[in-house]
């Protein structure tokens, strides 16, 4: 143990699994002068790693989690701390059995070995289970247990032995100094360390540390209860080894995991118990450890009963006592994803928080790569800490959402499921109007957006069978056939869509044009009045974002991006502003409201409102113009994400309601329908094969593979150009294709409808994997009411990317026939875009 250095390249705060992984991977990538500090002792400083149950289940729905877990398993195995014992998730309800069928699809999708097991088979694997209590299970032989403290020690020692790291336990951070918005130094109780980077890997304490630097890490510490029951003879006989698979009793939100001669019984079933980061005791004040708070038995009452029911022989044994019981603290986030990346508030201040044991080493690697190369190998859009808007960085939102989220830890969460807490945070000017129309609101980035309108129910009769109603409850949950009716009405007449949730920011200054050239893949030196859709690439040429940019003037651009993409995109753009103040950025999101008007009658409708010539010749596609509606100047941009003729109308907020009403009233003569995001975000775009960021587009596939490369590459340099050129040269390994589902009928005769995320199989029932190991699955799936079929977007290896190729999609354990309809960006609906003219 050496004295605390005065200077360092990077100070990593927190010596749990995360901090240790980061220094390990930074060391591997050649970093030097690293300092790892923790306010607790080593090897167990008293954070959540110290009391973790340390088991890793592999099958999960979300891609980022799946990739990070699989990567972590690999690293744990390399370190020699992974003990494979298998794991079984058991179901007590039919709903859970159905969830297992869905999970099996995800397991296939990410390459995780899994088997359905009957109650009798579960009994064979775990003889002390009462098989009468369960309906079946999903067995994953690769599930294992790790020694996370040992893993941390080994990783830390690697850096120390390499001479690039010193570790300092019992050093508490008192302050973090910044200068010009960037990290300057860490002040500890043992001295000041001047440093270029700070990485906060301090789990439940992270919000406190971030606050010292003027940044936010929005997580909420919550209690997870665990008891340890023993001694149990049958477990003692396995001699300290893990003799039985870990059991997750999903419907009671509990797990049972052997630990020596004891059975650890953990629960995610109890009420949400939130603990403020300031209310976590010190090592000295704590009875056990700072993150092992006194067990509150009343919260565990039902769990005693439930665990006893599942394992009566061993847990009902009078001689097996509850030898240890804790309220263990862990970190929960408002949306369930980790908090990774440089904080948007402070440069070179990195957050790596809300990581579980199962993602620890993989996340460490990811962050080390990100810090070194500017981007990680694994795409982590969902986990990027810069994803949050204003309101979501606050404690209130985190507390409200994590309180709601706790029970979802082992819950069955529908992919479209909406949050109940902290709603109505951001509403558009048309909110009251939409309420009157019976809007069913879905939330994105705090915005309330109509997903569909109950007032459109009358359209169901009009379109009859074409609305593709869904008989299955799961398929139709958080969904309505009205969406499809709105879609059809829009395609027949004209629809009005509220797009106020879009994020908008302006780029201005005399360097704006050169700067935009650097940022965007598409040509930015276009005529004033043009609007250009363009990918934004990462350094290596993967997708950072895709968005639309209007050239407003010689030195003025307007960037329009998705509501939830906004904060992340703004950080990316802001990070690359030239240091000479020649370009600046203005967030316009709160200043502008957007209404989309689309459909065959859109032109007539708009022409009835303005004197500006709206004809195809005078107002061309991909151009914008200012025009007046009853004297109020608004910006109209001729574009479409739904494949119809029409405009996005940008209106200053205070005029928005008035303009909106005028369009609505004028639209009555043209049969206008209010259209929800169900159409805009799903059916409309899928029929046109339009890609969606974070679904089709992420860093794992190149623009060439996504079908978004252009015939020519602009001469000017831009971020990711080299990678993009390389990808063009190499050609695609897989390409994004559009498929249609040919038959929805399940074995039981019920029509089933995909939700997105389903694995694509060959006619032999094999999962399709490309040469780079990437598996084919539905990046999006949804209805194409105008085609009368469901549509799937999926990357397929070239061998399968052939028009009319027949394949299968697996949904809830059954295969459905699909056909490849498009192997590039050519839409399968209106391929020549006649309707948009």
């Amino acid at each position: 143990m050496s004295d605390l250095p005065k200077k360092a390249k990077v100070v990593v705060i927190g010596a749990g699994i995360v901090g240790n992984s980061i220094v390990y991977h930074l060391a591997k990538l050649g970093w030097e002068d690293m300092v790892l500090i923790d306010k607790g002792p080593l090897p167990n400083p008293g954070g959540s790693t110290g009391h973790a149950s340390n088991f890793l289940f592999l099958a999960t729905h979300a891609k980022e989690f799946a990739e990070l877990t699989l990567d972590s398993v690999k690293l744990y195995k390399e370190l020699g701390v992974y003990t494979e014992c298998g794991g079984i998730e058991v179901a007590r309800t039919e709903a859970r059995m159905e969830e297992f069928r869905r999970l099996m699809g995800s397991a296939k999708k990410w390459g995780v070995e899994a088997y359905y097991v009957t109650p009798e088979e579960v009994k064979e694997l775990v003889p002390f289970i009462d098989e009468e209590t369960i309906l079946g299970g999903l067995y994953q032989p690769g599930v294992g247990v790790v020694d996370s403290l040992q893993a941390g020690t080994l990783m830390r020692e690697y850096g120390e032995e390499k001479g690039v790291l010193t570790s300092h336990p019992n050093v508490e951070v008192m302050d973090i100094e910044t200068e010009d918005g960037a990290i300057k130094a860490v002040i500890t109780d043992k001295g000041r360390i001047e440093t270029e980077y700070v990485v906060i890997a301090a789990g439940v304490w992270s919000p406190r540390l971030a606050k010292m630097a003027g940044a936010t890490i929005p997580l909420t510490p919550q209690v997870h209860q665990m008891i340890s029951v023993g001694p149990i003879d049958i477990l003692a006989e396995t001699d300290g080894e893990l003799g039985y698979p870990i059991v997750r009793d999903m419907d009671t939100f509990m797990y049972e995991r052997q630990s020596g001669s004891d059975m650890e019984v953990g629960s995610y079933a109890h009420r949400a118990i939130l603990v403020h980061p300031d209310d976590i005791p010190s090592n000295e004040e704590a009875e056990m450890s700072p993150t092992e708070l006194p067990f509150t038995e009343d919260d565990f009452e039902q769990q005693f009963e439930d665990s006893l029911e599942l394992m009566p022989d061993i847990l009902g044994d009078e001689t097996a006592g509850i030898r240890h019981a804790i309220n263990g603290l862990l970190s929960l986030t408002p949306d369930g994803y980790p908090l990774i990346g440089e904080t948007p508030e402070v440069k070179k201040l990195w957050s790596v928080a809300a990581i579980w044991i199962k993602e620890g080493p993989g996340t460490g690697r990811l962050v080390a790569e990100w810090m070194t190369h500017g981007e990680p190998e694994i795409d982590c859009h969902h986990s990027d800490i810069s994803r949050f808007s204003n309101y979501a960085r606050g404690e209130y939102h985190s507390n409200e959402r994590t309180a709601e989220a706790f029970i979802k830890t082992y819950g069955i969460v529908h992919p479209r499921e909406q949050w109940i807490s902290n709603r109505n945070v951001r509403v558009s000017p048309y909110y009251a109007m939409q309420q009157e129309l019976g809007a069913v609101f879905f939330e994105t980035a705090g915005w309330e957006r109509p997903q569909w309108y109950a007032s459109n129910e009358k359209l169901l009769a009009e379109f009859g069978d074409k609305v593709m109603d869904r008989p299955n409850e799961w398929d139709s949950r958080w969904w309505s056939p009205i969406i499809n009716a709105e879609h059809l009405a829009m395609r027949e007449r004209v629809g009005m869509v509220d797009l106020t949730a879009l994020s908008i920011f302006d780029i201005k200054g005399k360097g704006a044009a050169d700067y935009m050239q650097k940022m965007a893949m598409a040509q930015m030196k276009v005529k004033v009045g043009r609007g250009v859709y363009t990918p934004i690439l990462s350094y290596k040429g993967g997708f950072k974002s895709d968005l639309t940019i209007l050239r407003m003037g010689k030195d003025h651009y307007r960037v329009i991006t998705g509501g939830s993409d906004g904060p992340r995109d703004m950080k990316w753009f802001s990070d690359h502003l030239p240091s000479d103040d020649s370009v600046y950025m203005v967030d316009m999101t709160s200043g502008l409201s957007t209404i989309g008007v689309w459909g065959p009658k859109a032109r007539e409708l708009m022409q009835s409102l303005t004197k500006t010539d709206m004809s195809n010749e005078a107002f061309r596609y991909g151009w914008w113009q200012n025009l007046r509606i009853d004297g109020v100047e608004v910006l109209a941009f001729r574009i479409s994400y739904v494949g119809e003729l029409g405009w996005e109308i940008y209106v200053p907020m205070e005029y928005a309601l008035g303009i909106g009403k005028k369009i609505w009233e004028a639209g009555q003569a043209f049969g206008i329908v209010p259209v929800g995001i169900g159409v805009y975000g799903s059916t409309g775009r899928l029929e046109k094969g339009y890609r969606l960021m974070s679904a089709e587009l992420d860093a794992d596939y190149s623009p060439v593979e996504a079908g978004l490369s252009r015939p020519k590459v602009k001469r000017a340099d831009f971020i990711g150009k080299e990678g993009y050129m390389q990808a063009r040269k190499e050609g695609p390994t897989a390409v994004l294709c559009t498929l249609t589902v040919e038959d929805h009928t399940s074995k039981s005769g019920e029509k089933r409808y995909l939700q997105g995320g389903e694995p694509i199989l060959t006619l032999d029932g094999e999962i399709i994997v490309d040469a780079k190991g990437r598996r084919s699955y539905a990046t999006s799936a949804g209805d194409g009411p105008s085609l009368g079929k469901q549509i799937i977007l999926a990357y397929l290896p070239l061998a399968y990317a052939k028009i009319d190729e027949k394949l299968y999609v697996e949904y809830m354990g059954e295969s459905y026939p699909v056909t490849v309809r498009s192997i590039d960006s050519t839409p399968i609906f209106d391929p020549t875009n006649e309707r948009m003219k």
Partner: protein, 250 residues
Amino acid sequence: MEILVCIKRVPVTAAKVTLTADEQAIDAKYLSFAPGPHEECAVEEAVQIIEKHGGKSTALTLGTEDAIEQLRYAASIGIDDLILLETDSDWPPMPTAKAIADAVQEQGQPFDLLLFGNESANTGGYQVGIRVAHALGLPVVTGVKKLEFADGKATAHRQTASGWELYEVPLPAVFTIKEGINVPRYPSIPRKLKAKRKPIQRIVPGKGDVGLEKVRLTVPDVEASDVNILGHGADAAPKVVELLKELGLV
């Protein structure tokens, strides 16, 4: 055999003790509660005696509603009946003993054995068991680390610096128990569940003379930590031996 075991709810202290702002109690924000270690052993002893000799056991505590947690603990070890002498605060020894004795008399003093902890973990008064014994006119042996029964008599062993003292007393009698008499079991899940469903007899006792009135608590000043680190690991051995020589121990 009918056994009464009296327990007290106390916080489980950590390495550092912090007081509440009013200096009336330990700040238990981060702490759990348990009966004192002696009392945990008294509960275990009661259960073991019943297991061996048959009969019925009752646990009693004086305290606030929160102390039900400790009664439930006793039940989860195997105690049959639970009595809460409900007060709004901790009471000093005199009124506590009076309340317990009154309660026992109200039950008609059915107990063959009344077990207490030798002294409470928090207040260390060393007297409630003895006071109750006098109030009920029963013999009392304190500091008991072994208890045996034969012919309606109990033999109690207690440990002193000079060895073991043995006492023989007729029953009914009071014993104050010391840790070490047994190793308390951990409650099993079935017992926990049974304990949850046990009814609790609540009695609101009258408060007699206080006698000893707490004004405030203080944390004694500990001399500033001036520890001399002799060294790290095996390298420190010569310095340790030097110290032993200095102290005249080698």
